[in-house]
C-alpha cells in the first residue's frame, strides 16, 4: 500500500514541461531493488522544471536535452541522478532510504507508513535494543518507550523480565503483553508452564536481540484489537532481520564485559565487632524481659557463641557471595540477496556470568530467514530460529510464597556469621560459617557441584508465509507458525549438601514441553482511487497451545560423585498435559483521503477452550480516525511550525483470558494418593459463567513535527477493564481459598509524551535528544461484595480497595522509637492518631501506606556524532517517581533482634536505641522480640523514586579502505550510575508489584565491543 504514494511537488512541476532544442526522447523504467516497478516516481531534468511521472509499469518517456542530467525521486527511496549522454533508454533502480524506513511501522497483520497510522504504537530498532542488552529483548527496551514499564524478578542472567504496557489491566489474569514474532503469535506459555519455580526463568531471552530488526509496541485498541482476546495487555511485535538485495554483507560483532551489583550500597551487613555488640545487646535486652527469649543466656554468653568472639575476624559476606562477573557475546550474520531470493542468517553465542558465585547464562542461537519470489504472483518466506540456552544458578525467592529459602543468596547472606572466616587456616573453605546451621559457606553452596539448579532450554520458532497476488489489489496470504520450547531443569542436592542431607541426596529432572501451532489465512485488499486509498483484510486464525511436563527424582545417593537419576533410588515421578485452543475470525479496513483524513475499523471474534461453552465466544472491535491538519489550507501560513500535524483518536475493546486452562470446570483432581491407594478429591468449583475479561480503550493524541526538526507526540489513554477475571477469595469452609470469577472493574489512564529534537545538525557535530514521559495511574474501580476491601498477598500485605491504586500496600504504620524506653511504636489506628500508640505489632491497625505503581516514568536519550560520524556517543537516563517497594529482605535484616539467634542484621540497623543513643533510627534489639516490630509494616515500604543512567555508549567508526566496509569499536555501560535515589541503600528496580524479593539485585555492566562488516 505504501507504494501508492503521492506525487511529489517536483513531479507536478515536471508536468508543465517545456521542450528544449537538441532534445531526444528518452524512455526507461524505475524499479526498486527487488524489481518491482515504482509507479508515480518523478523524473525531472536537473535544474529545470521539465519532468514526468512513471506509469503503472514504472515506465516513463519524455523529451529531454541531450546533455541533461535526469533526477529520479520517489518517497521512501534515495534519489538518483544519471546523465543522458545521448542514450535513448535509461533505467533506474532505486534503493530504499533507510532514514525513511523508520517511518514504516510494523502493525498487526502487516505494516504501514507511520504517518498514516491512526493507532498508538511505538517502534524501537533492533540496534537500540541490542545496544542495551545482548541477553534479552525486554532489558533492551527499558526507558525507551513511553507507557512501557519493564522489571525483572532478579538480576540473574536468564531470569524473567516483565513488561507492562499502559499500566496493569488485570488483577488475576495475565498482565503480560502478547508477543508476535514475524506475524506469528509466540507461545502463550507462562513462566508457570515452563518452570518448576526454584528460580526465576524467562522465556523471552531464548531470542537473540542481535537478530532483531525492530520491536513495535502496540498500545491502544486501534493498534492491538486485531489480536482481540489476547491484546488487553498490549502487543509486542518483533520483526527479525531480512536479507537485502545487492552486495552480500558479512558482519561480526563481539562484546566483552564485566558486571556487578548496580547499587553497591545495597545489602551491606554488620561487620564482626558490630554483630557481636548487637548480639550482646539483643541478648541482654531479651534476658531482662524474660530469660526464655534468650534461651536462658545473657547477652555476653550469646555473643561468645559466634565463630570468633574476639571480634578480630570480620568477613563481608556480600563480597563473598557477589562478584565481578564476566560476559561475552558474539554474532556472525550474513545478508545476501538476488532478484528472487534474499537470505539472512545469523549465528550467535552469549555467555553471561551472574554476579552470584557459580551462576551463568549461556545461549547458542541460529536464525535463517529466506524470502523468495516464486513467480510473478507468488512469494514465500521461511523463517527458522533455533536456540539453546543454559543457565546454572541457585534457588531464589521466586517460588516462595512465604518464608525465605535458606539456600538462596539472601538466605546465605543473612545467616552467615560475620566473625567466621571464609577459609580455614589450611586454605580449604570453612564449612561452618552459618550462624544458624541452616546454610553454609557460599563458596561451597553456590560455586560447587554439590548443590545447583540448572536449566537447559531448546526453542525452535518456525514460520512459513505464502502470499499469492490474485490481482494487483488483492492478495491471499497464509502464515503457519510453530513454536516449540523444551525446557529441562536439573536440580542436584548432593548427600553432603545442606538441602540434600535429610534426603541423602536428591536429583530431580523436570521436563517442560510446550508447543504452539498457529495458522492464519488472510485475504488482503488495497487500492487507490484518486485521492482515496482503501485497504482491508479479512481472515481466520486457529491456535493450538499444548503444555506438558514430566518429573522424575531420585534420592539416597551413594555419595556426591554421581548424580544421574539411575544412581539414586526412586523418589518421585509426576507428569501432566494441558491444552488450549483458540479459533478466530478477523477483519480490518483502513481508509484515507489524500493523507489528510483517515478512518479505520477492525473486528475480531475469538472462541477459547479456556471458557465454558456458553461464554467462550466474544467479539472485539475498534474504530479510529485521524486528521492531518497540516495538510489543510488554513494551516499554510504556519506550515513550517506545523510541518506535520495530525490528531488522532481511537476507541475499541480488547479481552483477556483466565490463565488457568480449565478454570470454569468443576473438577476432581486425581493428582494425589493416600498410602498406596489412588485418591481423588474435589479440586475446583464449577463456574460455567466464567467469561472474558473485557477492556474498553480510548486513545486521543497528536503527532506534531515542527520545522522538520522537532517532533512532539502527546497521547491520553483511558482503559477501563470490566468483568475482571478475579481470583475471588472464598471462605476455606467451602473447601477453596479462591475461585475464578468475573467481577470488578479497573481503570488505567495516563498521558504519554514523546519528544524528539535535532538540536545541532552540523557536519562535524550532531546532537539529538529523544525523550519520553508517562504519567499513569491504575485504579481499582469496583469490587464485588458491595465493594468490600480485598486483602491479598503474603500476610495480606496488599489490598484491593475501591478508589485505591493497584498494588496498594496495606500495613500498620510505624511511628518510630520511643526515646524514653527504646521500644518501637505503631499507631493503634493509623487514621485516628488520638487512639494512641502501641508497642505491640499485633495491636496495630493497618492502612494504605503506599503503592507499587509509580505515577511518572520516563527516559531521556542524548545522541551525538562528531567529525562527520567518526565518533558517536549516547546516553540514556531513566526516571520514575511516585511508587514504593516492599523491602522483603529488610524484614530479615531489620528484625530488631527478633532473628538475632539466627541471622545477621543490615549495617544500618546498628543505629539502634541504647541508653546512650536515644534518638536512634531503630528500637532496641531484643532476641525473639515479643513485640514483633519487624513484622510487615510501613517500615518496610520504601520509595522507588530515582533517576539513573541506564546506558552510556561511545563508539568510533574506524576509517578503513580495503576489504572492510565498516569497522566500529565501542564501549558501553548499562546501569552504570544512580544519579539520585530516594532510598540510597536499595536498588529501586524491583518487580512490578513492588515486592522486593530479589536475591540478585540489578546489575551494572561495562562492555567493550567491535563490529566489522565486509
Amino acid at each position: 500500500m505504501c507504494r501508492k504514494i503521492v506525487i511529489s511537488l517536483a513531479a507536478l512541476l515536471g508536468l508543465i514541461s517545456a521542450a528544449a532544442a537538441q532534445s531526444l526522447v528518452v524512455t526507461g523504467s524505475v524499479t526498486d531493488l527487488e524489481g518491482y516497478p515504482l509507479e508515480g516516481a518523478a523524473v525531472v531534468v536537473k535544474g529545470s522544471a521539465t519532468g514526468t511521472v512513471t506509469n503503472e509499469e514504472g515506465r516513463f518517456e519524455f523529451k529531454v536535452p541531450q546533455n541533461a542530467v535526469l533526477v529520479v525521486s520517489y518517497i521512501g527511496y534515495i534519489s538518483q541522478e544519471k546523465p543522458v549522454r545521448g542514450e535513448h533508454t535509461i533505467n533506474f533502480i532505486l534503493t530504499e532510504d533507510s532514514e525513511f524506513l523508520d517511518d514504516v511501522i510494523v502493525v498487526a497483520y502487516g505494516s504501514m507508513s507511520k504517518s498514516d497510522f491512526t493507532g498508538s504504537a511505538a517502534q524501537v530498532s533492533g540496534d537500540d535494543i541490542a545496544q542495551a542488552s545482548s541477553e534479552s529483548i525486554d532489558k533492551g527496551m527499558i526507558g525507551k518507550i513511553s507507557g512501557v514499564r519493564i522489571a525483572s524478578d532478579s538480576g540473574d542472567p536468564g531470569s524473567a523480565g516483565h513488561v507492562q504496557i499502559r499500566g496493569v489491566s488485570s488483577i488475576s489474569a495475565g498482565t503480560s503483553p502478547l508477543y508476535v514474532v514475524d506475524g506469528v503469535v509466540m507461545s502463550s506459555s507462562t513462566e508457570d508452564d515452563l518452570n518448576v519455580g526454584y528460580k526465576s526463568m524467562g522465556v523471552l531471552n531464548t531470542i537473540n536481540p542481535e537478530d532483531i530488526e525492530s520491536v513495535t509496541v502496540l498500545k491502544d485498541a486501534a493498534a492491538a484489537s486485531l489480536y482481540g482476546s489476547r491484546a488487553a495487555n498490549g502487543v509486542i511485535l518483533i520483526t527479525t532481520k531480512k536479507g537485502r538485495q545487492g552486495k552480500t554483507t558479512v558482519t561480526y560483532s563481539g562484546e566483552f564485559g564485566l558486571s556487578n551489583m548496580a547499587n553497591q550500597k545495597a545489602l551491606q551487613m554488620m561487620d564482626g565487632p558490630r554483630f557481636i555488640q548487637y548480639l550482646k545487646d539483643a541478648g541482654d535486652n531479651a534476658y531482662a524481659i524474660n530469660p526464655a527469649y534468650s534461651y536462658g543466656y545473657t547477652g555476653a554468653q550469646i555473643a561468645s557463641m559466634v565463630a570468633d568472639p574476639s571480634g578480630k575476624t570480620s568477613t563481608d559476606w556480600t563480597k563473598q557471595i557477589f562478584r565481578n562477573a564476566f560476559q561475552q557475546n558474539h554474532q556472525i550474520s550474513v545478508s545476501a540477496g538476488g532478484e528472487k531470493t534474499k537470505v539472512y542468517a545469523g549465528l550467535g553465542y552469549n555467555n553471561t556470568e551472574g554476579i552470584v558465585l557459580g551462576s551463568y547464562f549461556e545461549r547458542f542461537s541460529g536464525r535463517v530467514n529466506v524470502d523468495h519470489k516464486v513467480n510473478s504472483w507468488m512469494d514465500m518466506s521461511v523463517r527458522q530460529m533455533i536456540s539453546f540456552t543454559k543457565t546454572k544458578g541457585h534457588s531464589d525467592q521466586s517460588g516462595q510464597s512465604q518464608g525465605m529459602g535458606y539456600a538462596t543468596p539472601i538466605g546465605v547472606l543473612t545467616q552467615s556469621d560475620p566473625t567466621a572466616a571464609p577459609k580455614n587456616p589450611d586454605g580449604t573453605w570453612n564449612e561452618y560459617v552459618s550462624w544458624s546451621g541452616q546454610t553454609g559457606n557460599p563458596h561451597l553452596l553456590f560455586d560447587s557441584d554439590t548443590e545447583y539448579n540448572r536449566t537447559q532450554t531448546m526453542r525452535s520458532l518456525s514460520s512459513l508465509e505464502s502470499t499469492i497476488r490474485i490481482t494487483d489489489w488483492l492478495s491471499l496470504s497464509n502464515t503457519l507458525g510453530y513454536d516449540y520450547i523444551d525446557n529441562k531443569q536439573y536440580l542436584w542436592w548432593a548427600p553432603s549438601s545442606i538441602d540434600g542431607a535429610a534426603l541423602n541426596g536428591l536429583s530431580a529432572v523436570y521436563i517442560f514441553q510446550t508447543s504452539d501451532l498457529t495458522n492464519s489465512s488472510l485475504l488482503r485488499y488495497a487500492d487507490q482511487y484518486g485521492p482515496h486509498s482503501v485497504s482491508a483484510l479479512a481472515g481466520f486464525e486457529a491456535a493450538d497451545h499444548r503444555v506438558g511436563y514430566t518429573y522424575s527424582a531420585a534420592n539416597n545417593y551413594p555419595g556426591d560423585k554421581l548424580n544421574a537419576l539411575s544412581v539414586g533410588q526412586m523418589y518421585g515421578v509426576g507428569g501432566s498435559q494441558s491444552r488450549s485452543f483458540m479459533a478466530s475470525i478477523l477483519a480490518n479496513a483502513n481508509y484515507d483521503y489524500a493523507h489528510r483524513y483517515y478512518a479505520s475499523a477492525s473486528f475480531r471474534r475469538d472462541g477459547s477452550s479456556r471458557l465454558g461453552p456458553d461464554s467462550r465466544w466474544a467479539n472485539f472491535w475498534s474504530v479510529s480516525a485521524a486528521w492531518r491538519l497540516s495538510s489543510e489550507d488554513f494551516m499554510s501560513s504556519v506550515s513550517r511550525l506545523f510541518n506535520d500535524f495530525k490528531i488522532k483518536a481511537s476507541y475499541g475493546t480488547n479481552g483477556n483470558l483466565p490463565s488457568g486452562y480449565y478454570s470454569y470446570k468443576g473438577l476432581y483432581s486425581a493428582n494425589g494418593g493416600y498410602g498406596t491407594g489412588a485418591a481423588i478429591y474435589w479440586s475446583n468449583p464449577e463456574n460455567d459463567a466464567l467469561g472474558w475479561e473485557k477492556s474498553r480503550n480510548f486513545n486521543v493524541g497528536f503527532d506534531w513535527n515542527m520545522y522538520n526538526r522537532i517532533d512532539l507526540a502527546v497521547e491520553y489513554y483511558n482503559k477501563y477493564t470490566s468483568s475482571l477475571i478475579f481470583d475471588m477469595p472464598a471462605s476455606a469452609v467451602t473447601g477453596f481459598s479462591s475461585y475464578t470469577s468475573n467481577v470488578g472493574n479497573l481503570l488505567n489512564e495516563g498521558v504519554e509524551v514523546e519528544f524528539g529534537a535535532q538540536i545541532v545538525n552540523l557536519l562535524n557535530f550532531t546532537w539529538a535528544i529523544d525523550m519520553n514521559f508517562t504519567w499513569q495511574r491504575t485504579v481499582v474501580e469496583n469490587l464485588p461484595n458491595g465493594g468490600a476491601d480485598i486483602p491479598y498477598g503474603d500476610g495480606s500485605m496488599y489490598i484491593h480497595r475501591e478508589g485505591a491504586s493497584m498494588y496498594s500496600f496495606y500495613l500498620p504504620v510505624w511511628k518510630g522509637v520511643d526515646p524514653e524506653t527504646g521500644l518501637g511504636e505503631f499507631w493503634i489506628d493509623p487514621e485516628d492518631h488520638s487512639k494512641g500508640v502501641t508497642n505491640y505489632y499485633s495491636e496495630a491497625g493497618s492502612t494504605i501506606v503506599g503503592k507499587a505503581m509509580p505515577d511518572v516514568i520516563g527516559g531521556v536519550t542524548n545522541s551525538m556524532t562528531f567529525l562527520d560520524g567518526l565518533f558517536d556517543a549516547s546516553f540514556l537516563i531513566s526516571f520514575q517517581a511516585g511508587g514504593s517497594l516492599f523491602d522483603y529482605p529488610g524484614y530479615f535484616t531489620h528484625s530488631d533482634g527478633f532473628r538475632a539467634a539466627s541471622m545477621n542484621a543490615a549495617s544500618d540497623a546498628a543505629d539502634y536505641w541504647t541508653p546512650d543513643n536515644t534518638d536512634a533510627l531503630y528500637p532496641k534489639p531484643i532476641m525473639n522480640n515479643p513485640y514483633r516490630w519487624d513484622r510487615f509494616s510501613s517500615r518496610l515500604i520504601k520509595s522507588t523514586d530515582n533517576v539513573r543512567v541506564r546506558e552510556i555508549a561511545v563508539g568510533a567508526n574506524v576509517p578503513v579502505k580495503r576489504h572492510i566496509d565498516r569497522l566500529r569499536i565501542y564501549a558501553k555501560a548499562t546501569n552504570p550510575l544512580i544519579i539520585w535515589s530516594a532510598v540510597p541503600d536499595i536498588d529501586p528496580d524491583v518487580a512490578i508489584n513492588g515486592y522486593r524479593t530479589v536475591d540478585v539485585p540489578v546489575t551494572k555492566s561495562f562492555i567493550l565491543g567491535i563490529n566489522i562488516t565486509f
Binding site: 561452618y432 497464509n478 533410588q569 480449565y662 476432581y668 489412588a678 485418591a679 539466627s902
Partner: protein, 462 residues
Amino acid sequence: MKTMKYILPVAVMLSGCDALDQDPSTSVTVDTAITSVEDLSNAVNGAYYVATYGTTMTVASELSIYADLVGPDSYQPASSGQNASRLAQYALTPADTYNAYYYLYAALASVNNAIDKAADLEDQEAAAPYVAELYAMRGLFHFHLATVFAPIPTSGSSNDMGLVLADKVFDISYIGERASLQDTYAMIVSDFTKAIGSGLNMARNSGHMNYWAALALRARAYLYMGDYDAALADARQVIGESPYTLYTPESYTRAWSQEGADEVIMEYLQTDVYNAQRYAPGYYTSPLGYSEYGVSPEFYAWMQQTPEDVRSQMVADLNIAPDPDYNPGFYPLKYPGNAGASVRTYTNNIKVVRLSEMYLIAAEAALHVGEDASQYINALRTNRIVGYVSVDEVDMDDVMDERRKELFAEGHAAFDCWRTGRAVVNGSFTIAPDDYRTVLPLPVEEVDLSGGRLKQNPGYGG
C-alpha cells in the same frame, strides 16, 4: 501444494469446533468423578490426602504435635524460625494459621461432596461402608479443628465459640458463622455415631477410620465434653471387643516405625511420595533436622526415674559430642521413620488414636463416675513396666502422670492440662486453661473475608 494452502486453514478451523472442548489430564469433572464404588473409595482416600497434604500446619505436620509443642514438656534444642518453635512460644498470629484451617476444611468439602455423589450410586449396599467412613472422617476433621481453634469444653474457658460447621456442600460464596462450642461437639459426636451405626468396616485398617476408630474417638470427644459415662462405655467397648492388643515391653520401642502396629486403631499414612517433608514431626525431632521439638531436661529426668518402664526409652539424651551440624538436646523418639522409608525424618505415620488411650480414658472416666480405675492402669502398666506389681487404687494424678508418660509427643499434653483445669507451665510461660493462648487465632483471611460474621478468638485483635 497450492491446494494444501487452502485446505490446511479450513481443516484447522473445522477441527476447531471440537478443539474448543478440552479436558485436563489429571482431573475429571465433578459430574463424572464418582460413578462407581471404586471411585468412592478413591474419594475417601482423597479426603485423607487433602487433610494430610504435604505442607506446614496440617494434621500430618505441626498440628500432629501441637498439644505437645504448647504443652509443659516441650523444649527447643534449636530455633530455625519454623512454625513448631513459634507455636511453642505462643507466637502465631492470625496471619499464620491459614493452613491449619484450610486443609481440614478442604478435606471436609471433599468429604461432603463425596457423600452427595455417593447417593447417586447404584450399589448402595457396597457404598455404605465408604459413606459411613466419610461421616467418621467428618467427625474426626471437625474434632481436629475444634481442639486447635476452640477451647476444650471442660477447660472452663469463657470462650464458648466453636467452629463453622461443615455439614454439607456449600456454595462458593458461603460465609459461615461459628456454632457454639456445645453444638460443635454435638456434631462431632453425631457424625461418629452416625458412622458407627451405618455399617463402618470393623476389620483392622489402620490408615482408615473404621468402626473402632470412630468409637475410640467418640470416647475421646465425650471425655473432652465431660460426659464420662459415655466416654467410659465407648472406651470399654473398644478395650473389650476390638481386635487391637496392647504393646508389650518388648514390642513397645519397635512399634513406632510399623504400619498397623498392634495398638494402632487409626493413623495417617505417610509414604515416600506423600509426606510432610521438613514439617514432619520426624524432622522437627531430629537433631539434624529443624530440631525444634525436644523434651525438657525435667521431663527427661522424670522419665528416667523409672528405668524399668519401657517408655523411659522413648526419650533420648542426644547432648553428645559437639558437631556443628548437630543440635544437642533431649529428643522424643516416637518418630523414627516408617520402616523402609526413603527419608525417615520425613516419613512417619501419624498416630491418631491408640488402644492404650482407651485404657487411660476408661480410667479417668471411671474415677469421675466413681468406678474402679485401677484395673485399666494396671493392665496398661503391666505391658509397660517389667516386673510391675498391680495396685489396688489409683487417683487422678496417677492417671494424668500415666497419660503424660504414655501419650507424650502424640498430641495430648497441653489438652490434658487445660481440660483438667491445670495450667501449662513451661519455662517462662504459664498458660492457664482460660488463657486466650490455649487456642490458635482463626486465620486473618477468613475473618477479613467474613465482613464481621466470623468472630475471632478473644485476644487476637478480633
